[in-house]
């Protein structure tokens, strides 16, 4: 069972947390220690400084590290904060960036057709995953409205809050075929089994929220979840590899 973590952060956070990981070398050492093969990585400066700044830092950090796949952050581009869409997508490919994050509540924009429609349409057409964290700038109302407008968007919901958020998560999983949820904070006892039974193992992705949380917490929970071995393998890494492989950059 190979672990491919969809929710890993690099960089020094503004508040100076207990155990940040500043460099890709440190991150890879921790991944080796835990037994994590690959990680989809974002940079905390994307959120705390500015997407352009964090994207650049991330690209430099992962450039020589094939086990680290990049996740850039986006904002609306009305005022030329970002390059034109075609250029932006080309640069993503060049930098081995396979997914995008948005922090609408923290960066003061609306994630909808009016504000971000061109980008969201392109992401939908190209099946580029959009990662939204419920702890970092996304809320349920935003997500429900976004998916109402872009029902075929590939959307990974991370850090879905303290346990028992299934009343928010499951209607989305049932309505929209390309919505996924990660295991960081999806820690309710019996939750993995229940979600696999009702929505399928293909909708759950291993995510740790490292370095704020340990890799090993949900690794052990997946390892001993009462679900078939193939479901565990899919959750551990197979699903994420498939989703990223389907993106047309």
């Amino acid at each position: 069972m190979g672990f491919f973590d969809c929710n890993v952060q690099l960089g020094l956070p503004i508040e100076g947390r207990l155990a940040p990981v500043a460099t890709p070398r440190e991150l890879l050492l921790e991944m080796d220690r835990a037994g994590v093969e690959r990680a989809l990585v974002w940079h905390c400066a994307q959120l705390e400084a500015a997407p352009q700044v964090g994207n650049q830092l991330l690209s430099e950090a992962i450039a020589q590290e094939p086990r680290l796949v990049g996740c850039w952050a986006v904002m609306p581009d009305h005022d030329e904060e970002f390059p034109p869409l075609g250029t932006f997508l080309a640069r993503m490919k060049e930098a081995r960036v396979a997914a995008l994050r948005a922090f609408p509540g923290r960066h003061d924009f609306l994630l909808n057709a009016v504000s971000t429609g061109e980008l969201l349409s392109a992401m939908t057409a190209r099946r580029i995953p959009l990662i939204l964290s419920l702890e970092r700038g996304a809320d349920w109302r935003t997500i429900y409205e976004l998916l109402g407008e872009f029902p075929d968007l590939v959307c990974i919901l991370c850090d879905v809050g303290w346990p028992g958020q299934d009343r928010m998560v499951r209607p989305l999983l049932r309505r929209y075929p390309h919505v996924y949820v990660d295991t960081a904070n999806y820690t309710v006892d019996g939750g993995v089994e229940s979600l696999v039974s009702h929505c399928g193992a293909h909708r759950l992705l291993f995510g740790s929220d490292f370095p704020d949380s340990y890799f090993g917490g949900m690794m052990l929970a997946i390892q001993h979840a009462d679900v078939p071995a193939e479901a565990k393998a899919a959750i551990a890494g197979g699903n994420l590899a498939r989703i990223l492989g389907e993106a047309a950059l």
């Binding site: 835990a34 346990p163 019996g190 340990y214 390892q223």
Partner: protein, 286 residues
Amino acid sequence: MMGPSQLAAEFWRAGKSAACPIYDLHGHMGPKGTLFMPRAEAPEMMRTMDGCGMRLLVFSHHLALRSPDIGNAPAVEAVRRYPGRLRAYCVINPHYPQQVEADLASFAAHSDVYLGLKLHADWHGVPITDARYQPACEYADRHGLLLLVHTRGDSAYSGPQLVRQMAERYPQVRFILGHSFMYDWDAAVRVARDFSNAYLDLCGPFFYRGVLEKFVGEVGSDRLLFGTDMPWFDPHQAIGALMSADIGDDDRHNICHRNAEKLLRSIGCLPLSAPGAQGIDAPAGS
């Protein structure tokens, strides 16, 4: 996997360790409207406990905490159904002094059920130093009981200054600081250092990388207790965090079972005494 230790390898392989049983001193049971919990009742919780080698769960029932109409009765029923695996905290709701009086009056008659008291001042909206808690705290002090107090670093009901007052006022009480003053880890360290009758509960800290290492380094692993809030959380998640932390297996043994065993022995509750109990490893009625 998870980390380089022998214990981590054992938990990775088997999900549990015969040499390292789990004593969870901070659990719950029963429904709670704000949460989806697929394993909230005792029979399903037994299944989880078996899967991770949890020998004993000490819990406060959600209905005791949140439905004064029902109170502690469901906890009593659950413990008596699984006397070898469960014990309860008698929940004190300060808004109902007659009920508190009745619960304390019948505490001794429930010696097969209760190991101590539980205060959730943040849910009940009454600071732990309020006079309405006094009868319960004095009772706990007279009998040297466990007192599990939900704490948060920024709480006006259960913050560090209030807990300090309590620890000074009731020196015979064994305080379990639920969630270790969530987010104010320095305050937790200071209180644990200043009061030998205060133990840090790791329910909450398990989620934050670096806190376990800090507590072990600055307080010592002999003052830390395993807790999960189960059925809120999967105990394997907490165990995985513990196995991942940069601490030694000796520390992990302390946290998983040795400290709890010592604490329960010190209050005369281990081995568990229960009329008809089948011993700690043999669940009844499952």
